[in-house]
């Protein structure tokens, strides 16, 4: 049979196979259109958050079901919708296509591609709104997420399945931390989803290029609802992101998801709510703005072995105004998450970057998800830093200090210096352990503060070559043994002689 006939035969077969859909449909009529909100009369049996379609093919979601009409948000272009248009109910709750094909792609809030690299063949459809995994399916967080940022891995460790808030003013490096964390997941068995909400397209492009250069797009999906997209899309973008993540979690994989940022998400939801005439509350946010974020972040979890053992780690970002963490949305999200990384403008301009305020930052899951070696070195470090901060403030008034106080202050200065780290340069955990070991054991006390970073780089290189047992033990057994410790001690001492 030649190709011509083959094509025709197949086409005939395809057409014969069409299901004759019983064409009973529920419809409504548009009575009002304004600012991305459509009011529809009819649609009497519609469900809450059911998808509807408009004549131009645009999708909408029913949010307000009232006595005489239905309030619908339009997910896309709403300028072509006019009064009298017929709206069709689909009978389906809003869902998006998910699957491996999304990895390495940039998609919009409906998981459709916006990177110009062709259509995405999704493996499954997942509902955008889904009830979080229940108690029975979960287990405690005990595996670390290595962010590659010394200050975080040592002092506010994050575990797989945790929700850690990144909070700070504009321009304090919140996104930088998130991007570094993604970059460091290479080879760590982690899928990443970066959800950009209300971000400038230029910034998104920069991030995408950066991730591609770092090879991070091999395991990352970017979901974007840009600044020029309707707020309805900004509202559903994080839920789409977590639906994409849930697909991987259900397959037993670990996922890191970043919501950048939830303050813009809350603003988008406020806009929609006010347009739908829902009563405003504090700061004009609707009454359910807490539930908006709690149901989103509750979907981050660590499943136990019987349920596949996958996890979703969430790093939501919140932008504060002039350092005010007691505003409505920041306090909400702080109370929902399992800890926060607090970034400060003052520290940023003092040159302490990442500008993490170690005193205000906590991780409520904490030590259980650190590797043993890190736990051992970081335990003393936290104490050293706390004492340093107290004494530093006190010592500004007088010059006569006793030796012990002076020593604590000097140690603290070196610790702060050691925790500095340039952008896009994550440090692997065994290197972090070497540097911190040298600090807490006092090897850095006679190195000038300005030389610390130079010493650190040199030491790590030297230790890689001259303390191989120690490195191997930390890498594989996650703790050093006596022979390894002896080796690193001599290595540090030897390197110090060379360095001075």
């Amino acid at each position: 049979m030649n190709t011509r006939n083959l094509v025709i035969e197949n086409l005939k077969k395809e057409i014969a196979n069409f299901k004759k859909t019983s064409s009973v449909q529920k419809v409504g009529v548009v009575t009002e259109v304004f600012d991305g909100i459509v009011r529809v009369s009819g649609l009497s049996d519609i469900k809450s958050s059911e998808m509807v379609t408009f004549p131009n093919g645009v999708t909408g979601v029913a949010l307000n079901l009232e006595e005489d009409f239905v309030g619908i948000i339009v997910l896309g272009e709403y300028n072509n919708i006019k009064e009298g248009d017929e709206v069709k109910a689909t009978g389906k709750i809003l869902e998006v296509g998910v699957g491996e094909a999304l990895i390495g792609r940039v998609v919009n809030a409906l998981a459709l591609p916006i990177d110009g690299a062709g259509a995405i063949k999704s493996s499954a459809m997942y509902p955008v709104e889904r009830v979080a995994s229940g108690v029975i399916t979960r287990q405690g967080v005990d595996q670390p997420v290595q962010t590659g940022i010394k200050a975080i891995d040592a002092l506010v460790p994050i575990g797989r399945g945790q929700r850690e808030l990144i909070i700070g003013d504009r321009q304090t490096g919140k996104t930088a931390i998130a991007i570094d964390a993604i970059l460091n997941q290479k080879g760590q068995n982690m899928k990443c989803v970066y959800v950009a909400i209300g971000q400038k397209d230029s910034k998104l492009r920069k991030i995408e290029t950066r991730l591609r250069e770092g090879g991070a797009m091999e395991y990352t999906t970017i979901v974007s609802a840009g600044a020029s997209d309707p707020s309805a899309l900004a509202y559903i973008a994080p839920y789409t992101g977590v639906a994409i993540a849930e697909y991987f979690m259900d397959k037993g994989e670990d996922v890191l998801i970043i919501y950048d940022d939830l303050s813009k998400h809350a603003v988008a939801y406020r806009e929609i709510s006010l347009l739908l005439r829902r009563p405003p509350g504090r700061e004009a946010y609707p009454g359910d703005v807490f539930y908006l974020h709690s149901r989103l972040l509750e979907r981050a979890c660590r499943k136990n072995k019987d349920y596949g053992g996958g996890s979703i780690t969430a790093l939501p970002i919140i932008e504060t105004q002039a350092g005010d963490i007691s505003a409505y949305i920041p306090t909400n999200v702080i109370s929902i998450t399992d800890g926060q990384i607090f970034l400060e403008t003052d520290l940023f301009y003092k040159g302490i970057r990442p500008a993490i305020n170690v005193g205000f930052s906590v991780s409520r899951v904490g030590g259980t998800c650190q590797i043993k070696a890190m736990k051992k070195v970081a335990g003393t470090l936290k104490l050293d830093l706390a004492q340093f901060r107290e004494l530093e403030a006190f010592s500004q008034f007088g010059s006569d200090l006793d030796e012990a106080t002076k020593a604590t202050i000097e140690r603290g200065r070196r610790a702060v210096e050691l925790l500095k780290q340039p952008q896009y340069s994550p440090v692997v955990v065994e290197h972090q352990v070497v540097a911190l070991y040298a600090l807490v054991k006092g090897y850095l006390d006679d190195i000038a503060v300005t030389k610390i970073s130079e010493f650190e780089t040199g030491l790590i290189e030297y230790a890689e070559n001259n303390a191989k047992t120690f490195m191997k033990q930390v890498r594989e057994k996650r703790i050093w043994e006596d022979d390894g410790e002896a080796e690193i001690k001599t290595a540090i001492a030897d390197f110090k002689k060379m360095f001075v």
Binding site: F18, S23, V27, G28, E67, D68
Partner: protein
Amino acid sequence: MQRVSSKHLAEILLDSTDKLDEAMLKKTVKEFALYLKSKKMLRQIPQIMENYRKLYDKKHSIVEAQVWSQDRMNENTKSHLRESLKQRYKVKEAHILEFLDQRLIAGFKIKIGDEVYDGSVKAKLESLRQALIG
């Protein structure tokens, strides 16, 4: 003041106009309209009318279908359609409002309340198009 729903107003209108002669009916409707005006509720008139229609049809067991076709239907088809509507919606009376639409090519499109049965060739071609490109 609590807002009175248009459904509630439609119920009142239905109850108060039940079994009245024409003169009384005119008077009652006029009073109803004046009441709405005094309460500044004239904006709700479309919803009230819609609800009134629904309630009246329900009370008197009527179903009203809007039918679009490419050509005029003959009486035979109409009575057949009426019978099947009566059976499906379990009502005593079925009314048909006819509309012509050249774009359907052939077949009917029937709308009852917010339910639509689209049996036109146009709809079938559309679903074929969707299936082929999707």
